[in-house]
Symmetry: C2
Subunit: 422 residues, 2 copies
């Protein structure tokens, strides 16, 4: 227990430094923050060799441990990838700073002028897995929105992450802001995560980035509010009036363009009125792209080559070239299926019918609801947020893709002239 206590104290010392330095960052103007971000980008490029070297030590350890080729690729930093990370930092420079924005002001009958001003959340904890680029991506988004950040990356990437964080810290200090606003926990012990999740005085919110197991672990052990991103079981509903080509393109794009991500399509729902035409077209197109289709009995009656879906297929996040297909009796039936089996991530209707489109948009409770568009647009960059720190599948604070604005909150401001309450 002594070892663990000691680790706890060391974690706490770092979270405390993040908290203590966060006030200076919250008060910094956009120009100064942007200077620091420019310095981070330049410094990443200037220290590319040092970063690649640190990464080589991680890769060596991972290879010795028999890590798979795919995982090694995710872990790798080379000069090109370092340049990409720096380019991403420069994109954040170009984004508008949400801090200080007054989102509205109104005058009360007694004359006080009341408004709401955006302010940083404070200190954000990020718990993530393999890719070292997250160290910089997450740190600079938190930084731009005026927040200190405490990072806990995967142990595989510890040397790379430490080197990246050090480069960022040096650049921030050179720009006249406290280096301590970026903290990377230099511990590979899992207990360090647990200590981080207990630092409720120092950290305002935890954002886990990784697989469902990581997110469940964080949610279960955290005393700090967690923004959760569970799975994406996204649906396309092909309405009776849907254009056949448009439906096919949206289904194929949603399933095939990048099957391993959360906004890819997992279930296609087809209106029974258009099913006789649509099901054969969709299944043929999917099969031609190498997709395995698992269908309900009515789907299979129209496309006998399709394998039978089981109950387990409806709530499944395949993240692979597999899709479930079901014939439904209309909009209400489709929405009931989505409500029952979906994960509140992203759903799209393909339709020519005005009323169906409006009802679907209004009544489906998922974080992104679309008409005649690919579910693959459910992404901060694609939706125009400029960048994305994560996607929230729960409703508190943020729901759906989170940009800079979601890394802030609002306080009330009041301009008075001596008013008192009667």
């Amino acid at each position: 227990m002594t070892g663990s206590m000691e680790l706890g104290e060391r974690v706490r010392a770092l979270t405390r430094r993040a908290r203590d330095s966060s006030r200076a960052l919250a008060a910094a103007g956009s120009a100064q923050k942007n200077l620091a971000l420019e310095a981070i980008a330049a410094s990443l490029e200037a220290h590319s060799a040092r970063l690649v070297e640190a990464n080589a030590r991680d890769l060596e350890r991972a290879r010795a441990a028999g890590t798979s080729a795919a995982m090694l690729d995710r872990l790798t930093l080379d000069a090109k990838r370092v340049r990409d990370i720096a380019a991403a930092v420069r994109e954040v420079v170009a984004l508008p700073d949400p801090v200080g924005e007054v989102t509205g002001m109104w005058r009360r009958p007694n004359g006080i002028l009341v408004g709401r001003m955006r302010i940083p959340l404070g200190v954000i904890g990020i718990v993530y897995e393999a890719r070292p680029n997250v160290t910089i991506d997450a740190a600079v988004l938190c930084f731009k929105a005026g927040n200190a950040v405490v990072l806990k990356g995967g142990s595989d990437a510890i040397e790379s992450n430490l080197a990246l964080a050090e480069v960022a810290r040096e650049a921030i200090a050179a720009a006249g802001l406290p280096a301590d606003v970026v903290q990377l926990l230099p511990f590979t012990d899992r207990a360090a995560v647990q200590h981080l999740l207990e630092a409720e005085d120092d950290i305002d919110v935890i954002i886990p980035r990784g697989g469902e197991a990581l997110i469940r672990f964080v949610a279960q052990h955290s005393r700090i509010p967690v923004i959760k991103h569970y799975k994406g079981v996204c649906h396309v509903f092909v309405d009776a009036s849907a254009d056949v080509t448009m439906a096919r393109d949206i289904v194929i794009n949603g399933k095939v363009q990048r099957p391993s991500v959360c906004n890819s399509v997992e279930t296609v729902l087809v209106h029974s009125e258009c099913a006789p035409t649509m099901v054969p077209v969709l299944t043929a197109a999917l099969v031609a792209q190498g997709v395995e289709v698992r269908g309900c009995p009515r789907t299979r009656a129209l496309a006998p080559e399709v394998r039978a879906a089981t109950e387990a297929d409806w709530p499944a996040e395949f993240l692979d070239l597999v899709v479930a297909m079901k014939v439904v009796d209309g909009l209400d039936d489709a929405m009931a299926h989505i409500e029952r089996y979906g994960s509140m991530h992203t759903e799209s209707i393909v339709t020519k019918d005005y009323a169906s489109a409006q009802r679907f948009l209004r009544e489906v409770g998922s974080s992104c609801v679309m008409v005649n568009a690919s579910t693959r647009f459910a992404d901060g960059n694609q939706l125009g947020l400029g960048a994305e720190i994560g996607i929230s599948t729960t409703k508190l604070h943020a729901f759906g893709p989170m940009g800079l604005e979601e890394l802030t909150t609002r306080k009330f401001i009041v301009y008075g002239e001596g008013q008192i309450r009667g």
Copy 2:
């Protein structure tokens, strides 16, 4: 353990009914919701005698248990108080419905039109203490914002609360919406709260309303996100340039108008440059109103009758006719004191200086920051939110007074014309 298991199942059955019925309420339009609210108000008045009778049983039990006169008063429902509750419901009818509002739309380069639409949070759990009026106040605010609610009131008021909830449920059913959107847990056992806090599948957010002990209990035991309202240690900073009369009026109003509430003033900070004039005026005015002043050594040098403040007085929430007073060396010193001892609730500066006012508004991180106005305006009604479900002293989701808007979240909506991702 069997008894507790059984209780858990009974709690879960009720939370599940709230969840199941919440979808129909989320889809209901403003007109239908307002009809139901009108019906609740009318029904409360029509069943006034039944409510007062149920309350009499609570009062009898409380009297037998030796409850204090003040607590008995808080618990009491009479015909006048029932009319007041009904009037408050009618005020909620008049408020704009936040659900369905699209807060902004923008077109992306590929032509998709992206917007954000307000939707209900879903199901809200409210855990509260003595006053039975909270049963209706909280239920109707949640209802107006399209949320089902699960209420757990104090055991003292169980008969009153059950009768109030039953009247609301009948009226909602009569208006054609599911009665199950209002659930009141009919259990006085504390374990029922614990079971409620574990119903993470059915409840989206918990709002505790009561003292710090209740809030800490809820925060510690909840698996569901909690919106916390800890204490209000509010400050008035009297700047060097402050008008003496305005400073006196704002300090007196903040301390005396209603000392028992969270937005009353607990500490007055006085700029050293104006302290020789200001401290004697403020202390004399406070003492004349029966307030006990506890001062720092510099305060006492200027007002020798003042009792010495101890370290424990600076972070204290007196909630009584007691105030701490400290002479500070200017704006930075005042803001450092607020940062160290405050509770991020509400702070006000009294000043004639433009730059001091702007810096205070920008740099103080509390949920309400005011210039030349009484801290007593930190209240949803006073700030113009129309109503208040609570005040959040933490930053996630909501910070400061929470109105109807804070009982909603936003989803993304996308209007496309067949766009797919390249």
